[in-house]
């Protein structure tokens, strides 16, 4: 029996606004509880919500970035459920008139482009945070503390259609979405901070079947590694059950990082009744052409655009995607450097291999401000034209990361320039041949390992100032004609 998995992703993106969604409380990043709260985000009696215009602008930008149609008259709905960290015991969300519908995101898997269809993009407010004392879970805690700093922070939920078929694709989708919100400048996009949190809806069915299998939801993950493992585990778990002839239960599970398994949280008997209804405290969101056009003004150089530019510079799709998802400075540095070097592959390799490697080793997060594309491209050109050896180039780079030097003058001043002067090399070669007649006599053909030994001798006698390639050429010409 051949089985196939179908996955749909629901991702919450925390927007990077100054103030919360429905009040003017500052969005803060702190462990000190309840310092940025007011009557509205605490759900005090009589307090009212007033929408944050910037947040609405951001969700329109995200919807446009995800190629969605914009709903011109969006509505806020109340989603009713009781939970101690939900101050009003309803969450202001969107139901049948979300801001964005029917979009798609282009993702990269190896050297291939895929499209992930987006069902909807909607706005909601975040809840407070429960800190369970004595246990990580509410049902076994001895007490629970509540922190409402997070309460009311604007969230956007992006929901895909069930079109993802494996964990790698899911990861690529999240990477793409993350880069989109970063490039739009609407979220910090830090997974470790929970700026993106995702739920995966996974079902497994017979490959030939037109119907989806029973849906299992894995809730609240915020690392790509967990996402990948959780999906792989869940597909395996469900497949085994189906192969054994057992049925999969519709339920919500969570990924247990310690045990590396998914664990059942609650069984869904039908769907929960949230009694959605239009929030009478909030008039409809009128998103007209003018608003959309203003939002468009803030949209430029999205991941797809960047990827296109990178590809046009000569990089492969996967290398382009790598730089697309990297830091902005690296992307900028690459583009300005490759303009000088005209060699995309070697520039890519030098930047992502040597430069990033050395920075990691030296624990430098940001490029020192004296390091610019001119210096880097000069350095790349030095070793690409064999004027310095690759080893020297690495040394120069290390130096450059520590202090403001000019790679060319540094190479010259420190005698790192290799000579390609044929006459000079010829003189050195002649003397080495003369001094090593015993070896020369044992040479059988140009592929002989002893050729390398002789090249080494020439290099040594030049104190590494000559280009080893030229040495070899001249040596072979002298010996074998």
């Amino acid at each position: 029996m051949n089985l196939k998995a179908t996955i749909g992703m629901e991702t919450h993106v925390e927007l990077d606004t100054k103030s919360k969604m429905f009040c003017s409380c500052e969005v803060v990043e702190t462990d000190e509880p309840n310092i940025s709260v007011c009557p509205t985000c605490l759900g005090l009696p009589g307090a009212l919500p007033v929408p944050n215009k910037t947040a609405i602008e951001y969700i329109v930008m995200l919807s446009l970035g995800a190629n969605c149609n914009i709903t011109n008259e969006g509505m806020f709905h109340r989603k009713n459920y009781f939970y101690p960290d939900l101050p009003k015991n309803y969450q202001i969300s969107q139901f049948d008139f979300p801001v964005g519908v029917n979009g798609s995101l282009e993702i990269v898997l190896d050297e291939e482009l895929h499209s992930v269809e987006i069902e909807r993009v909607h706005m909601e407010e975040d809840t407070g945070k429960s800190v369970h004392i004595g246990s990580g879970r509410i049902d076994s805690a001895t007490s629970t503390l509540l922190d409402f700093n997070r309460s009311g922070i604007p969230l956007v939920e992006v929901v895909t259609k069930p079109v993802i078929s494996n964990s790698k694709m899911a990861v690529a989708y999240i990477e793409e979405l993350r880069q989109l919100v970063i490039d739009l400048g609407i979220s910090k996009g830090k997974l470790e901070k929970g700026n993106l949190r995702f739920d995966a809806n996974i079902s497994v069915a017979n490959e030939d079947s037109n119907e989806l299998g029973t849906k299992v939801e894995i809730k609240n993950m915020n690392s790509l590694k967990s996402l990948e493992k959780a999906i792989d585990y869940e597909i395996m778990r469900q497949s085994k059950q189906i192969e054994k002839g057992e049925s999969v239960i519709q339920e919500t599970r969570h990924w247990d990082e310690n045990k590396q398994v998914t664990i059942s949280m609650r069984t869904k008997e039908g769907s929960a009744d949230y009694r959605y209804f239009s929030d009478p405290d909030l008039p409809n969101m009128i998103i007209d052409e003018e608003f959309i056009n203003n939002s468009k003004k803030n949209i430029q150089n999205l991941p797809t655009d960047k990827r296109k530019t990178l590809k046009e510079s000569g990089l492969s799709l996967s290398d382009s995607n790598y730089l697309d998802k990297g830091d902005k400075w690296l992307y900028d540095l690459y583009l300005s450097t490759v303009e000088n070097t005209k060699d995309s592959k070697s520039t890519f390799n030098f930047l992502t291999g040597e430069l990033q490697g050395q920075m990691r080793k030296a624990e430098i997060d940001e490029l020192p401000d004296w390091v610019d594309s001119e210096k880097i491209s000069n350095l790349i050109n030095l070793f690409e034209t064999n004027e310095v050896s690759f080893t020297s180039a690495k040394d120069i780079l290390a130096k450059l990361l520590g202090e403001d030097i000019d790679p060319i003058s540094y190479a010259t001043d420190n005698n790192l320039i290799q000579s390609s002067d044929d006459e000079e090399i010829k003189t050195l070669v002649t003397s080495v041949i003369k001094e090593n007649q015993d070896i020369v006599e044992r040479l059988e053909d140009p592929e002989d390992k002893l050729v390398g030994f002789l090249v080494g001798q020439v290099m040594k006698s030049s104190e590494n100032k000559v280009n080893p390639g030229s040495v070899k050429d001249i040596l072979l010409k002298e010996l074998f004609g």
Binding site: P45, A47, D273, F277, P280
Partner: protein, 485 residues
């Protein structure tokens, strides 16, 4: 000693001419309260110390001729579902028996800036759900005209204090008639402004799309003065509007009599008041025509789906987690359950259940969804009607005040007492109730005038002209008895 309190303009004149000081008026009002309260139970809390202090500050302003305006030094009572910083806001519920508000409602901020002195907080039906103040967790308020009768509700306390003279005016809230119906029962003026003209920020919500704060006063002019102070756009309320008030161009006014509120279900006594006013209007040369809005008959049903639906979500926040009372339990859900069971009274629970049901999957379209559709038709109907007439005249209530316990056993009958007032809430219209006469058993009767949205000031002007025509000069028995003694 109790005297009928003069109008706000008159009081201001006395203050300006140094014939009376704000602190003297405050003491007088407090003295009235100290004997009327024992009978009426209209105030839940009196702010004597702070009131006296603030009224003395007002004294100084008048001495220096630096008063803040007409409302400076005027003692006003606030319904106990409107937040005043540092004071309890109980909503007459056990749930909030210990709740002290950390912020002012926008209307309270406006009145404070105007130099108003708060007498205290007034009684109401729990969370403003009721028509008699019998649903208060702290006991009912009595009608100053006859303590055997209810003062109406839900702003029963706010109407009673004005009627009894223990405040010059008061603020109430009106979701389905909660200002106008008690004003009518207590023989005072009650005004529900156009939805959105007065900020709801700081008013504890019952049904957000219907709730509106408004004044209860002795005269229509007092209503104008207070409305003028509390109206206007508020950035803290997203449903707040920047009103562009319409003016009346013609001296000759066209008045519509709403047929559906002049038939069976409305007492003859109440209908007679309308007829009396109609005759007076005709004498003045105004046009009076009968109009028919058949959907008015469905207004009550629509209201009893929309209001409970909204309240079921609005009252979810009372869970014992962050404020209010909390019942001990071993889990958080059990705690919430117990707290809500103990904290809410019967009527509140009934409406939460009703609303929850109306919003539930499978019932939504049939109940709440359909109610919304009828509501928008009612709005359209009124709009069409106001193309023909300037104002719509009707009784405020089907009957004068009823006795305690008379309708508590039959909720439908209780709900019917808001028959005439609910349509204005559904359509967001301004509506005012003014006393016009007394019933057979010496209880006040009123008429209601509705205007089109944002006609508030012209509606007030028109009501004032009727006020002059009818010359309602009666005082409640409570005041008379005390005068005699």
């Amino acid at each position: 000693m109790a005297e009928k309190i003069p109008s706000i303009s008159k009081i201001n004149e006395l203050f300006q001419n140094k014939e009376m000081k704000p602190s003297e008026l405050f003491e007088q009002v407090y003295e009235t309260a100290s004997y009327t309260e024992s009978v009426l139970h209209a105030h839940l809390e009196l702010f004597y110390d702070e009131g006296l202090k603030l009224s003395k500050e007002s004294d100084k302003r008048y001495t220096k001729n630096e008063s803040f305006g007409l409302l400076d030094g005027i003692p006003i009572a606030i319904k106990d579902n409107i937040n005043i910083y540092g004071y309890k806001t109980t909503c007459s519920s056990k749930m909030l028996s210990n709740y002290v508000s950390p912020y002012d409602a926008t209307v309270v901020t406006s009145l404070k800036k105007a130099g108003t002195i708060f007498t205290g907080k007034t009684n109401l039906d729990e969370f403003a759900m009721g028509s008699s103040t019998e649903n208060s967790a702290y006991g009912p308020t009595k009608n100053p005209w006859n303590p055997n009768f209810v003062p109406g509700g839900s702003s029963g306390g706010s109407a009673a204090v004005v009627s009894a003279g223990s405040a010059v005016a008061s603020l109430g809230s009106d979701t389905g008639g909660s200002i106008r119906q008690p004003a009518s029962f207590c023989g005072v003026v009650g005004f529900k402004p156009t939805y959105g003209t007065v900020s709801r920020y700081g008013l504890i919500a019952f049904a957000s799309s219907l709730d509106q704060i408004g004044p209860i006063t002795n005269t229509v002019d007092d209503t104008r003065i207070i409305f003028n102070e509390i109206q206007g756009y508020d950035s803290k309320d997203a449903t707040s509007i920047t009103p562009e008030y319409t003016k009346l161009e013609n001296k000759k006014i066209k008045v519509g009599i709403l047929k559906e509120l002049m038939q069976e279900g409305v007492s003859n006594e109440s209908q007679n008041e309308v007829n009396k006013v109609v005759n007076l209007l005709k004498e003045k040369g105004h046009d009076v025509t009968e109009i028919s809005l058949p959907l008015t008959e469905m207004a009550l049903s629509v209201y009893y789906l929309i209001a409970p639906a909204e309240c079921s979500a609005n009252l979810s926040r009372f869970d014992g987690v962050r404020y209010g009372i909390r019942e001990d339990a071993s889990t958080s859900y059990e705690m919430m359950n117990k707290t809500r069971s103990v904290g809410f009274g019967e009527e509140v629970k009934k409406r939460i259940l009703l609303g929850t049901y109306a919003l539930s999957a499978g019932y939504f379209d049939e109940y709440y969804g359909r109610a919304l559709k009828v509501r928008s038709k009612i709005i359209t109907d009124f709009k069409t009607a106001f193309d023909e007439v300037d104002f719509i005249l009707s009784p405020t209530t089907p009957t004068p005040a009823f006795g305690f316990g008379e309708k508590t056993k039959n909720p439908l009958e209780m709900y019917l007492s808001d028959l005439c007032t609910i349509p204005a809430n559904l359509a967001g219209l301004p509506a005012i109730s003014i006393p016009t006469g007394l019933s057979e058993n010496n209880l006040p009767l009123s008429v209601q005038i509705m205007g089109k949205p944002c006609s508030d000031y012209s509606l007030i002007d028109f009501a004032e002209s009727i006020e002059e025509m009818v010359e309602f000069n009666f005082s409640p028995n409570l005041l008379k008895e005390n005068n005699e003694s």
